[in-house]
């Protein structure tokens, strides 16, 4: 590869090489078992890797992407395995026919257990999984239906066109086709409307909720999805071993699955397969070497596995996959920007101080190669794709948002003291006041992040106070945040597309089956339109974490616009912007007003506000002290006193 070639060409050819390598790998994998001289033992090992990979892929979505975790995945394998074992041995079902039942039972169990824990803060879910993992493990060993500790034997093998797949070479294909399908399904899931919501779970949940994502629902989806993959692994296992007992479904197995995901790289589907491969190989080797080394029988591999897990968390939390990817692309592209893993999150060490939160989650799906290019070109774009329906804007001058004696107290502190004001359609109203005056609290009351203690907030004549942020967003109120709240690892396009979440309807199942493509194209088309409207087209495919603060504020406005709002709430949109950026922003906002949008903004920069706002509401100590056009407010003695301390 010549170093003078443009970057994109180099990247494209890496992609081509990668695809060729992948195709080669698949062909080699398909031929491996039938090649002469390959010992059956190898094939068995590969089968175990495949089963591990299935569970680990689920953990990738759950832990690596969603930021939840489970030590109880092995128990879900147990559900899959025992369901098919009972149905085939007792009731003579065909192994293939039991899969839907196995999935239904596993999914139901996960749903119930998930419902119990998703509302709680992060560590209750894994703790809960340890407890029920043990509970279920003991239960599997006690149930008469499962023949107690002896387990169920004589499970029939898979039958394919009259052939019984007794041999591990036969079932090899069933297992690895399942792994491929799972990898594909996971990729599809993550690269979709639901996928964006899943990826927005860690850290930026507040932003996601403000755009109508129900984070609890998304957490449940992820948890059930991971459990279903484990259920498939269990179902396959039962027909591979043709006997099941409680042993492989304990907590230790659950911990090993997590090790696979962490070792490979908890944010990558490829990492799950890599991790499963390495752990399975290592386990096999250790089980052979350690007992003879130590001169005693026992599961000594746990010593190494536990130490490995801790060492990985301390030194390579992103796992091996990103390093491998960097190594392979490094040959043609040179050093790559280091992308810490999702597990790096919340420690702030690798995080961008500007963003003040998470480290960068890894780029899970390449930002829309292929079809993506046409989206960057507005002329080509709008011809092919029918735009999303837009809301009709209310007539200018109509009262849109009305606060009547809105009140919020935190214990003894009155943060918002019976504030009343109205915002009429088509105007820009600025909410100003000294620090701690209660401006952001008013925003939180309007957007439903906090319920008001008393008083009423109405939008288009309908009471919205007390409703959830999602319900309020659905009515056409979009917001930006005082402290920028974006997903730094997701591209600008994907971040803005999160704003359009409520304008799509396709769920997880549709995205897995790729039935969401038409809607997805329309969503992304709309997203690109809003990015263009805000002048960020050049940055569209870059990770949001690489943008300047000013650009991030613009991104937040684009994301809010993607909701197709009637009312835009901007929390200090000009903070941290340079002078000319502020001028541009003011011009953009005036342009939005001209298009019929209503804007309520909190701002400290007086020259910015005075030149832009139609009306200004001034609050101090939670109380409204003045309201009116800029000139009037500027000369109001109460305002002067609040800002300058009286005799000025």
């Amino acid at each position: 590869m010549s170093p003078t070639r443009p970057m994109s060409k180099a990247a494209m050819s890496t992609g081509r090489w990668g695809r060729a390598a992948l195709a080669g790998l698949i062909v080699a994998a398909a031929l491996l078992p039938v090649m002469p001289g390959v010992p059956v033992f190898w094939v068995t090992l590969l089968n175990n890797m495949g089963l591990g990979a299935l569970v680990a892929i689920g953990l990738v979505v759950l832990t690596g992407v969603g930021g939840l975790t489970s030590f109880g995945q092995a128990a879900f394998c147990g559900f899959g395995a025992f369901t098919t074992a009972v149905l085939t041995t007792r009731y003579g079902w065909s192994p293939w026919a039991t899969l839907p039942v196995a999935l239904a039972i596993t999914g139901l169990a996960a749903l119930v257990l998930g419902l119990l824990t998703v509302r709680l803060s992060g560590h209750y879910l894994p703790l809960g999984t340890i407890a029920w993992g043990l509970s279920l493990y003991f239960l599997f060993g006690e149930l008469e239906l499962f023949h107690r500790h002896d387990g169920i034997t004589g499970i029939p093998p898979f039958n394919l066109a009259g052939w019984d797949l007794y041999d591990s070479r036969g079932i090899y294909y069933v297992i690895w086709i399942s792994v491929l399908l799972a990898a594909l399904a996971t990729r599809n899931l993550l690269d979709s409307r639901t996928g964006r919501a899943i990826r927005a779970l860690r850290g930026g949940a507040l932003a996601a909720e403000s755009f109508g994502v129900s984070t609890m629902r998304v957490k449940l989806i992820v948890f059930v999805y991971a459990a279903l993959l484990a259920g498939v692994a269990g179902w396959l296992y039962a027909h591979m071993q043709r006997a099941v007992n409680q042993t492989p479904f304990g907590i230790n197995a659950g911990i090993e699955y997590l090790l696979m995901a962490v070792l490979g790289g908890a944010g990558h589907v490829g990492g799950a397969i890599l991790g499963a491969g390495l752990v399975t190989l290592l386990k096999d080797q250790l089980q052979r070497i350690l007992p003879s080394l130590l001169g005693a029988k026992g599961n000594y591999e746990t010593v190494v596995f536990g130490a490995l897990l801790i060492l990985l968390l301390q030194t390579a939390r992103e796992g091996l996959w990103p390093r491998l990817a960097a190594l392979s692309s490094g040959m043609s592209r040179g050093a790559r920007r280091k992308v810490p893993s999702p597990l790096v999150g919340r420690d702030g060490v690798g995080g961008n101080p500007k963003l003040g939160r998470e480290g960068f989650p890894p780029p899970l799906t390449p930002p829309h190669k292929g079809g993506g290019e046409s989206r960057g070109d507005p002329a080509q774009r709008s011809k092919q794709i029918e735009p999303l329906p837009a809301r009709t804007m209310p007539a200018a001058g109509e009262p849109l948002l009305v606060l009547t004696k809105a009140r919020k107290t935190f214990g003894g502190l009155v943060a918002v003291n019976d504030v009343s004001f109205a915002v009429r359609a088509g105007e820009i109203v600025a909410l100003i006041g000294p620090n701690g005056a209660g401006k952001s609290t008013i925003f939180n009351l309007v957007t439903g992040v906090l319920p008001p203690t008393a008083g009423e907030i109405a939008f288009k004549g309908e009471r919205i106070s007390g409703r959830s942020p999602q319900a309020i967003a659905a009515r056409g109120i979009a917001r930006t945040f005082q402290h920028v709240n974006v997903q730094p690892g997701m591209s600008v396009l994907e971040n803005v597309a999160l704003g359009a979440h409520l304008r799509g309807a396709k769920g997880a199942a549709a995205s897995i089956a790729r039935l969401d493509r038409a809607e997805e194209a329309r969503l992304l088309d709309e997203t690109a339109r809003q990015i263009e409207r805000m002048g960020l087209t050049a940055q569209m495919h870059r990770p949001a974490g690489s943008l300047s603060l000013g650009q991030l504020r613009i991104l937040e406005i684009a994301r809010a616009l993607a909701l197709d709002p009637v009312l835009l709430l901007l929390d200090e949109p000009a903070a941290g912007l340079r002078h000319f950026e502020k001028r541009e922003l003011a011009a953009t906002l005036a342009g939005l007003r001209a298009q019929g949008l209503t804007i309520l903004l909190v701002e400290h920069d007086m020259s910015f506000v005075m030149g832009l706002a139609d009306r200004i509401v001034v609050v101090d100590f939670g109380t409204r002290i003045a309201e009116g056009p800029p000139a009037q407010v500027r000369s109001d003695p109460a305002v002067i006193e609040a800002y300058l301390g009286g005799v000025a």
Partner: protein, 345 residues
Amino acid sequence: MDTTILLFLLQDGVTNGAIYALLALALVLVFAVTRVILVPQGEFVTCGALTLAMLDVGRVPGTVGLLLVLAGLALIAEAWSHRRRFTGKVAGRLVLSYVLPPLIVAALAWWLAPLRLGVLPQALLAIAIVAPMGPYLYRVAFQPLSEASVLVLLIAAVGAHFSLTGLCLLFFGPEGMRASPLLTSGFTAGPIPISGQSIAIYLAAVGLMAGLYLFFGRTLLGKALRATAVNRLGARLVGVRTALSGQLAFLIAAAMGALSGVLIAPVTTVFYDSGFLIGLKGFVAAIVGGLVSYPLAAGAAVFVGIVEALASFWASSFKEIIVFTIIIPVLLVRSLTATHTEDEE
């Protein structure tokens, strides 16, 4: 079932509950100070119990080897963190904190084990061998991660549990062991015989709780720990060394784990992996207390003990299932009363 059996079961439950209470308190303490959910707490129980059992038969316990391994790893980790400025002073401090204590303890164990000094000195020796493993474990596994999220720390804790269980198997072997009781004399309260061991357990539990209360309320070190628990950054700003707080919390937790082990060793046969289940019952109690409340955790521990005792009478083979299922309604209640979904960390 008549009253006698019920009372007997209750007494049994309270005895076990007292042990779980000790463990639950240690878990709450460690979580508050370091945000580590101490899954390997159970291994300290195993070590305490098996150490006492081996001392009881006059053998040098395998924990000595385990302690030396952990101290060695901690020494390496600490020396590595000072590799840029490795002065004589640093070396001296390393020897004082990471070389001398384990060597002294090991020497004591080698010297005293064959003498079979009697139950009480043996119990103290067992705790002395196991307790230092706590800070060394913290140094090796958790101190480098002290700024990480609860989730990462939890995964590391599970890793530590995995490793330590394997090491326990290595150092103790697969056979279960039992020790002779601390107090042999018992008495009968009405129809219920109360064994000396039960009395020892009650005394230890109550004494330790009172001791901890005084430690946290009256001593500067205890207050430093509480400060770390409330706000790590704030504690650091006023001069509390949070790494030291972490090691101290682990020292207390390991000592309490070892004590629990010493207390149960005469009652049940302990295997290399028994501690995990015992520790997890402490967990169920700690979770009832939301991992923050000491009194709630202690109360819940007694409840867990009683449920376990009743379950073992009515449905003995489903005992563990019932105990670990307690957590589900608890989580449900916590879930329904939770006011926020955001993670603070």
